[in-house]
Amino acid sequence: MSSQSLIAWLYGSPVSTTIRDVLWIVPTVQSVHIMAIAVIFGSAVISDLRLAGVLATDEPLDVVVRRYFPWMRNALIVLLVTGLIMTAGEPDRVLNNTTFWLKMALVVSVFSLTWLVRRPLLRHTADTRSFASDYRIKPLAWLSILLWCVVIFCGRWIAYTI
């Protein structure tokens, strides 16, 4: 089956039709999606700014990171589920959209980056002091914040691009 016929099949499926026909589903799912964006972005900004050494520097690095990482992971799950529902409702418009695929690539990149940077702290394998002196951590923390901003822009732009 080609990807276009798969999209056509998905579009005609009862699930897809229901998402389009029941008027409250899409705005509700989008609202939940925005709430989860707030959780993931808020947690990212606070913990990345701690990693960058500009916020809550009197609190231990691993305490701050371990406080926010589970919230980021759980928010990501909510984002994937709500995103999947939106995609199922309009597979033709979403799956053929370049901005959508750019956004997906960025989400995978920034969340991998988030996890890789935090992994030593989450697993208690790192001595926090030597971890903090790693010269790569600060620029990567700033890069993460920047990438999350680009992800948010891409999300809004899916509705305006082909």
Partner: protein, 162 residues
């Protein structure tokens, strides 16, 4: 009639016309608006959860509030500025949209909730700064704030669907 002509004059201004006619302006404003919402709700939720008694990245509620409030206010200013520009671009349509007015009402209530907290239990914060669970007044403010900001996000998303 008076109001109608004022709204017409607003959306006839050069700025409003430019936003309406440019393909880039509106999605850019929307993206910045979502970015602002993410930081407003993200930072407010961290404080609200602390007011409910969930430990944050630091024990002191007072220091947590002072640390995060500048982020909340700057992001809120971004939301107001971008929201205002979106409003003037189609002032008549927005003024006729009941969800828009419900959202403004919910924002007002969220502001009142914050005012009550600041004039009330926040004045005695030194007495409960590090105690868990916080006093009932603080917990009520936390629940109220989470509920009202969630409502603001839902109503905001609904504006575009009505």
């Amino acid at each position: 009639m008076e109001l109608q002509s004022t709204l017409q004059a607003i959306q006839d201004t050069r700025v409003a016309t430019m936003i309406r006619e440019s393909g880039l302006a509106f999605p850019t404003l929307e993206s910045l608006h979502v970015l602002g919402i993410a930081l407003v709700f993200g930072t407010i939720a961290i404080v609200d959860l602390r007011l409910l008694g969930y430990a944050s990245h630091r024990r002191s509620a007072h220091r947590l509030i002072k640390e995060l409030l500048p982020f909340t206010w700057i992001a809120f200013a971004v939301c107001v500025a971008t929201g205002l520009l979106m409003f003037i671009s189609n002032a008549i349509t927005y003024a006729e949209n009941s969800f828009f007015w419900w959202k403004m009402g919910a924002l007002l209530l969220a502001g009142l909730n914050m005012g009550v907290f600041h004039l009330g239990v926040y004045r005695r914060i030194d007495e409960w700064d590090v105690s868990l669970p916080p006093p009932s007044g603080a917990r009520a403010a936390g629940v109220g704030s989470l509920a009202l900001w969630t409502l603001v996000i839902f109503l905001g998303r609904w504006i575009g669907f009505s």
